[in-house]
Amino acid sequence: MTQIELPSYLEQSAPVRARFDKLKQREVILEVKHLGKQFNSQQGLVTALKDINFKTHRREFVCVIGPSGCGKSTLIRILAGLESPSSGQVLLDNKPVFDPGPDRGMVFQGYTLFPWLSVKHNVMFGLEMQGFTKATAESEAMNWIELVGLDRFADAYPHQLSGGMKQRVAIARALANKPRILLMDEPFGALDAQTRSKMQENLIEIWRNIDITILFITHDLDEAIYLADRILVLKANPGEVEELIEVSVPRPRHSGQFISPEFLATKKRLEELIHPPTTDDDADGLHMIRMAHVGDDVEVME
């Protein structure tokens, strides 16, 4: 088998470079400064996140990836205000944030629609919390429901919807508050492959059409490359920024690009970062022969 010659993932075509230059000119929406998080656990003090620094610009799409246990969920929960950092700061529009608020919309991996409210009332929830009248909230909510293509299901209850539809409602619900940034914590992780790629297309479509900055957590490399402008790669133990990659795949993105040289080059780089070559004594690298002999003589066979 011959190895295909891939360009460097750092190589950017002129339009892509121009786009990144323009993007970095835009105002900073979210800034994370020296963010750290430590937990008290039975094994003592555990450092989940250590000195995280990054910025997202207006209308940027940032994905966060990393091996399991790298603290990506903790990071997004801190950004949402659901947990507080042990050190460092989160700035939204240059102002520090501490508590959860409607200026940072959140879409969770699990389905968090309110089961007692119809689709319409779920989307109206945030608007009502902010004191909009029922009528205003309703017409506003209907716009967002239409945007995610669920107007026929406005009166359905969440349990009547499929997983993908539920997440579309969750996106509409978060966007209805007109947040400055949309935080998404592996939102498509529980969906099957087909629904997932459809949802990715949908999300890109929505993102292109409205003024929204997105920070998206995933462990799926293809998903990250397909969606993101930049990918924040974390490493585990402790969770630190490994690299912030500018995705060189041109926009508009489409599924045909999955085998383009830029895509593959980026993917190769991500794989190197996330799955470094394993050593022999690595627990993940168990030999098949060892798995086959379970008993007293589980010795390493040389």
Partner: protein
């Protein structure tokens, strides 16, 4: 065999027909057993009902004697060549036959009470239902809010639950004498016993139900801009409502179990008075009728509440009963 006709597949749903059959059987089998014991003379029937006393002086027509005594007297009479007593095998007085209870059930509502001071069965029942209603309502008025608050705010939980946890081990009837001393001999102490029996369990159960609400829903609400009381009134309460309703149905059943004890306190009243009174007159058919009546009220009211629940909470997924 097709899936639907299999009767003993582990935790597999049965067909509608199978379920109906089993439901009917679950009532029919005990009734059948009861009928067998009542109507088949050689099954059990440890007594003999005297028809003709014959020469036996202490036998009276209609009297129930042990079978051994009867044969002994019969033998004695044969030896003395005196007139033989006759009788038929019968069950003890405390086990009336199904048809007797069914008749009592009917007559209990149609015959006037023997004494003018006494109440009709339906009046006794109505009185009992009122005791339950007030006991349970008062308990719920306090217990539900406290339970919800305990389940929502840790501070409130830590303030209330340790004491309630202790208090719930004190048997409610133990407070009978105290309740009479404080509340008099009429309905007051009875309602108090139902209250004590229900309230403490209620707070703990509802607090637990509240705690089981998915914390992700609260987090979602927070990120949507909900604040303190909005969280309580717009998320916690609607979120637990179907489960809270189910808890209340179970607790109502518990309230009924305290009824008999409660009604014995002070002046005996309601269905308990009816049962003890009828037992005193040895009208055991009436006693059974009254006990069955309590069961019917319980099951029917729970069925109605379950139906109502389905209407009230249309967002609840179909509950799979296994």
């Amino acid at each position: 065999m097709s899936r639907a006709t299999r009767w003993f597949a582990v935790r597999q749903a049965l067909s509608k027909k199978q379920v109906t059959t089993l439901t009917v059987l679950s009532f029919l089998l005990p009734i059948l057993l009861w009928s067998l014991v009542s109507y088949v003379p050689f099954l059990w029937h440890p007594k003999v009902e005297i028809m003709e006393p014959g020469s036996i002086a202490w036998f009276k027509p209609g009297m129930l004697v042990d079978r051994a005594d009867f044969t002994e007297q019969e033998q004695l009479a044969t030896e003395q060549q005196a007139a033989l007593p006759t009788g038929v095998r019968s069950n003890p007085i405390y086990l009336p036959a199904p048809h007797e209870v069914a008749m009592a059930f009917y007559f209990a509502f149609t015959t006037e009470p023997t004494r003018s001071s006494e109440q009709w069965l339906h009046e006794s029942l109505w009185h009992s239902i009122q005791i339950i209603f007030w006991g349970f309502t008062l308990s719920s008025l306090l217990g539900v809010p406290i339970g919800v608050l305990c389940g929502t705010y840790v501070a409130i939980s830590k303030l209330h639950e340790p004491f309630i946890e202790f208090f719930r081990y004190l048997p409610a009837p133990a407070f009978g004498a105290l309740a009479v001393a404080i509340l008099g001999i009429h309905d007051g102490p009875k309602i108090a016993i139902i209250f004590i029996g229900t309230f403490f369990q209620q707070v703990l159960i509802i607090a637990n139900t509240t705690r089981k609400l998915d914390v992700a829903l609260l987090e979602a609400a927070l990120t949507l801009g909900a604040k303190r009381f909005q969280l309580l009134f717009r998320v916690v309460i609607p979120g637990i409502l179907p489960d809270l309703y189910r808890d209340q149905r179970i607790l109502l059943g518990w309230a009924w179990t305290y009824l008999i004890v409660a009604e014995l306190i002070g002046t005996s009243s309601g269905i308990t008075w009816f049962i003890t009174q009828q037992a005193r007159y040895k009208n055991f058919d009436n006693v059974y009728a009254a006990i069955i009546m309590i069961g019917i009220i319980g099951v029917v009211s729970d069925l109605l509440l379950a139906r109502l629940g389905k209407r009230l909470f249309p967002w609840e997924k179909e509950q799979v009963k296994v």
